[in-house]
Amino acid sequence: MSNPHHLRYSKEHEWLSAAEDGVSTVGITEFAANALGDVVYAQLPDVGSTVAAGETCGELESTKSVSDLYSPVTGEITEINEDVVNDPSLVNSAPFEGGWLFKVRVTEEPADLLSADEYTAQNAG
C-alpha cells in the first residue's frame, strides 16, 4: 500500500489534507483500515464542535474491536462524511478518498505531523 504524498499523517494513523480556505479533510490511513478489518460503525464528531489535536473525537467499530478516533489537529468541525456514517465500509474500500471522515477548520497544528515517507517508515519499524 502507498501513502499519498500530498497528505500529512499523525503517528496515530490519521491523514490530513492540505488546507483549502483554512479547512482540512481528515481520515484514517489504509494501514489503519487494514489493521482494523471491516469497519461497521463510525461515530464522528458533531458539526460545529471543537476538536483538539491528539484527543479523542469519535470511535470506529470493526468486527473484532472498537478504536478511538483522534483528531490530528485542533479546530472546529465543519462537515462530517455522511456517506461513511451510512456505509462505514467506505473506510476500508477508499480510506484516502471516499472514506474520509470529517473536515476541520484548523486553528492549530501540532509540530509532529509526518510526511508520507516518515509515516511509511514508522509503520515499517
Binding site: H13, V66, Y70
Partner: protein, 390 residues
C-alpha cells in the same frame, strides 16, 4: 486511532490466554497463508490467519457458497486400547461408549467440581480407537487430564497434535466441491460422522462437522499433505465461489449459529447446566465419571433455582457489544456479554450473554447493554440467531 488500539485489535480474538511456551507455533499451511496476503493473529500460541481480505465477505461466502479454513491449531488426542471406551466414559461427561464406529459426538470434559475444562468432539475411528479434538487453548489441559484419568484403565492416551493438519470446507457448496476430489461416499456421511478416505490423492479422515452453522466437512490429514489438499480444494472450488477464510469470520459464523466458544460462554467456573448444555451430561451411562456428584447437584439446582441463562441479544442501534460488557435493566446489572459482534447475516450487532432468569425470556422489555457508559437498547431472543434451511 491509536497505536494501542491496533495492538489491542490484533489480539482481540477469542480465547487468547497466553501459552506457557513463548514460542509461536505455525501450521503446515503458514507459507501459503502469507502468499495469499493473510492478516495473521496470535491465537492460543498459534500464528493463524485472521482474515485474507474482508472478514464480512468471507462470512457471507460461507453462508452462501463455501469457505476454506486452516484449523490445524485444534488439538488431536488419540485414545486406544481395550478400555478406551471405558476410559472416555469415566473422563468425559458424555456416553462415549455408545458412539458407533464412524460417528462423532459433541461432549465436554469437566473438573470434579463440575466446572467445564473444555468442550470436545470425539470421533470413534474403530472399536478400540477414538480421536478427541480439543480447543487449541485447552489441548494441553485436556491431554493432562485424560492422561491422569487413564490410570488403572487398559488404554493409551497419545498426543497427536503434531500428527494432523486440519482443513475445513464449509458452506452450501462444500459437498459438491468435496465430491469432485474424492470417491468417498459423502451422501452416506451424516452430520457428526467421520470416515477414512482419500481426498485429492491424500489419505484423510473425512468428518461432516463444523463450527459455522452450515453444512461442511473437516479433513484431518498428515501435515505434509496439507498444502496439496488445500490447493486441490481451492481449484475444485474456483468455479463456485470458494474463498479462503480466517478465524475472524469463523467467530462471527459460530456466534450467529449460537455455538459456544471456550473462554467466553464456557469456563471452569460454569457447569454444562449453567451454560444451558446440561443435555451433554449422561447420568444414565454405566459407571462413575469425573464430576458426577457435582453435576447431579448442578442439575437439581438448575431445576429449582435457575442460574443465569445464556440468551441472544440483538441491538436496536449500531454500536457493538463486546465480551465483558454488562447487561442492564432498570438501572441494575442483570448479566454479562460473553461474545458480541456485528452480524453480517442480520445486519445488526448481536451478542450472547448470561442474564438473570427473570430477564431471560425472549421479548423481555427494557434490557440494554452498557456500551462504554451509555445504555443501548437490546432485544432478548432465543438462540441461535441463524439456522440454515435444510
Amino acid at each position: 486511532m491509536g497505536r494501542n488500539d491496533l495492538a489491542r485489535h490484533a489480539f482481540a480474538l477469542g480465547d487468547d490466554r497466553p501459552m506457557s511456551s513463548t514460542e509461536i507455533r505455525r501450521t503446515a499451511l503458514d507459507a501459503l497463508h502469507r502468499s495469499l496476503g493473510a492478516t495473521m493473529t496470535d491465537f492460543a500460541g498459534w500464528d493463524m490467519p485472521l482474515r485474507y481480505g474482508s472478514e464480512r465477505d468471507e462470512h457471507v461466502a460461507v453462508r452462501t457458497k463455501a469457505g476454506l479454513f486452516d484449523l490445524s491449531h485444534m488439538g488431536e488426542i488419540t485414545v486406544t486400547g481395550p478400555q478406551a471406551a471405558a476410559l472416555l466414559n469415566f473422563a468425559l461427561v458424555g456416553n462415549i461408549a455408545s458412539v458407533g464406529v464412524g460417528r462423532a459426538r459433541y461432549t465436554m470434559i469437566c473438573q470434579a467440581d463440575g466446572g467445564i475444562l473444555d468442550d470436545l468432539i470425539v470421533y470413534r475411528l474403530a472399536e478400540t480407537e477414538y480421536m478427541v479434538v480439543a480447543n487449541a487453548s485447552n489441548a494441553q489441559v485436556v491431554l493432562d487430564a485424560l492422561t491422569e484419568r487413564a490410570a488403572g484403565f487398559d488404554a493409551e492416551v497419545r498426543d497427536d497434535r503434531d500428527a494432523y493438519a486440519l482443513i475445513a470446507v464449509q458452506g452450501p457448496e462444500s459437498p459438491g466441491i468435496l465430491k469432485s476430489v474424492t470417491d468417498a461416499d459423502l451422501d452416506g456421511l451424516k452430520y457428526y460422522a467421520g470416515l477414512p478416505g482419500t481426498v485429492a490423492g491424500v489419505p484423510a479422515l473425512i468428518a461432516r462437522t463444523g463450527y459455522t452453522g452450515e453444512d461442511g466437512f473437516e479433513l484431518f490429514v498428515k501435515p505434509e499433505h496439507a498444502v496439496e489438499l488445500w490447493q486441490a480444494l481451492t481449484e475444485a472450488g474456483e468455479g463456485v465461489g470458494l474463498v479462503p477464510c480466517g478465524l475472524s469470520c469463523r467467530d462471527t459464523l459460530r456466534l450467529e449459529a449460537g455455538m459456544p466458544l471456550y473462554g467466553h460462554e464456557l469456563t471452569t467456573s460454569l457447569t454444562p447446566f449453567d451454560a444451558g448444555l446440561g443435555r451433554v451430561v449422561k447420568f444414565e451411562k454405566e459407571g462413575d465419571f469425573v464430576g458426577r456428584e457435582a453435576l447431579a447437584a448442578a442439575a437439581a439446582k438448575a431445576q429449582e433455582n435457575p442460574p443465569r441463562v445464556l440468551v441472544g441479544l440483538i441491538a436496536e442501534g449500531r454500536r457493538v457489544p463486546r465480551s465483558g460488557y454488562t447487561v442492564v435493566a432498570g438501572g441494575e446489572v442483570i448479566g454479562e456479554v460473553t461474545s458480541g459482534a456485528p452480524s453480517p447475516t442480520l445486519g445488526k450487532p448481536i451478542a450472547m450473554a448470561y442474564v438473570d432468569a427473570a430477564h431471560a425470556a425472549p421479548g423481555t422489555e427494557g434490557v440494554g447493554v452498557d456500551i462504554r457508559g451509555s445504555h443501548e437498547p437490546y432485544e432478548v431472543v432465543a438462540l441461535p440467531f441463524y439456522k440454515r434451511q435444510k
